[in-house]
Symmetry: C2
Subunit: 318 residues, 2 copies
Amino acid sequence: MSEFDLIRRLHERINVVDGDGPSACVVGIGDDGAVLDIPQDRQVVVTTDTLVEGVHFLDTTQAQSLGHKALAVNLSDLAAMGAQPAWFFLALTLPAPDLSWLESFARGMGDLAQSAGVVLAGGDTTMGPLSITITAMGLVEPGTALTRDGARNGELVVVSGQLGDAAHALEILKAGGMPGRKSRAALESPVPRLQLGRQLRGLATSCIDISDGLVADLGHILEASVAGAEINIDLLPCSASMAGLPGGQRRQFQTSGGDDYELCFTIPVSRREELDRIAKECACPLSVIGKINTSLELVCTMNDGNVFVPQGGGYEHF
Amino acid sequence: MSEFDLIRRLHERINVVDGDGPSACVVGIGDDGAVLDIPQDRQVVVTTDTLVEGVHFLDTTQAQSLGHKALAVNLSDLAAMGAQPAWFFLALTLPAPDLSWLESFARGMGDLAQSAGVVLAGGDTTMGPLSITITAMGLVEPGTALTRDGARNGELVVVSGQLGDAAHALEILKAGGMPGRKSRAALESPVPRLQLGRQLRGLATSCIDISDGLVADLGHILEASVAGAEINIDLLPCSASMAGLPGGQRRQFQTSGGDDYELCFTIPVSRREELDRIAKECACPLSVIGKINTSLELVCTMNDGNVFVPQGGGYEHF
């Protein structure tokens, strides 16, 4: 099977729509590049993320989960920018052409692409150690993209969803165990918070997705905003499996686990009451866990008032 | 060194300009995504290509060459579309952080980026087997992008530059030898035909870059255009090292070698005289090597009138 056949096959499986519509893909798969029509009143948001076998996922990960997750981690970045997903480009490196693996991979990716309204517009398929790089493009009204640098003293720190389950599931899998269904789904099928990201335009003063762990990613907001924060870890909502862990272990997963793909953002105190409506519309819990201050430090406290110091900070690739 | 530091460092080395100007990058490195302002009278052309160690380059390849080539192969795709390069996104997977390697890599990439006027607007750095995926974005006036599907019966087949030297250099290197300087440069420092691609807008009826070998890539034009062609291989200009090879070997490199990054395109017979001016302006030989016909086949002939049948056709990854 040629590279062309492979990409066409992936394209057919992944794209249910052909890209006609407001964000038209004029030339798609099968030329040297895709040609895209950008609506005049939009900026383009671009993000790229790579998943490497053995680094970002276990070699036992199912192809369907991998297809989903490779796209999800990129869409999560678009969510954190408040962008509407439009197109993505798939660079897939495979040890060998395996049709049944590809079918499953394309199914996982295609289901998410369809639900997110994003179109595969191009790609490259090569032979080599298993690795997936996706470049995703979204659209945003000019000047409304959410960035990391707008957090100001006194603003509230908010987190969506529940944290820690993905890291917990990974630890169980690495030890040869079998995590519960919900924890495993958090690890393998994270749902990017696209609707939430869109709702936060004009409200959040800064936003990031929690892929490297809450402490590391909130740290990026603080660094970009030249600010500090104090957060109470025990204000984070817990899944049942998290709640069953010893407190120290739970807090460690929740602050530094990574792979959560929830959004962490800041809002002015005066707009706190808008959170309830948004949480309802997005069917997603939103928890106020602390406040921005001028300290240039991030301090994590617990319900008993003591400070919690996460081990090792956030996840860094190097 | 954190992923952030690494990307910032690459960014500093690669970007001499900061992206201000007509194609502004409003938000760049250091957020979840880049935010791009697209001029209203432009379409966006996007292409993505991966280079994997041991598949697309030898493990002895110098970091500086690799930095150049990883960007060059993507810019070559933009050239084949007639697009003006604007931004690129670098997904770099490295076995380990090696600062001196990165400095060289960034120098090779940065020099080409500067000469091509393209800005590194984002990326991802991960640990794993050495591999580079670049997504390059260019701009083109609406409706003027060069595609593969417009070749019509009777039109001329034209090729830029000289073919075969990159494949010849690779064969010598694989055998433990040392190719000549020019052949090695063709392999390691190909120069994307960006100016030529821009000049071909409104002239070429189809265009492709010859990355997989002339026969394979002209074959893609014929397939997309539902056409055939007859070309005379001996009309291709030869480098000195190609000219020194036995005819069969030379023709094999020139038809099927791959890694040439020249442009192959078709033009109406009536516009043949425009080629001289363009060749002069682009400082690049343009050779008419044959004609499009209705046969749905690609036939390669030689000066003696006999048919040349390339072994194995073009390069396919699978």
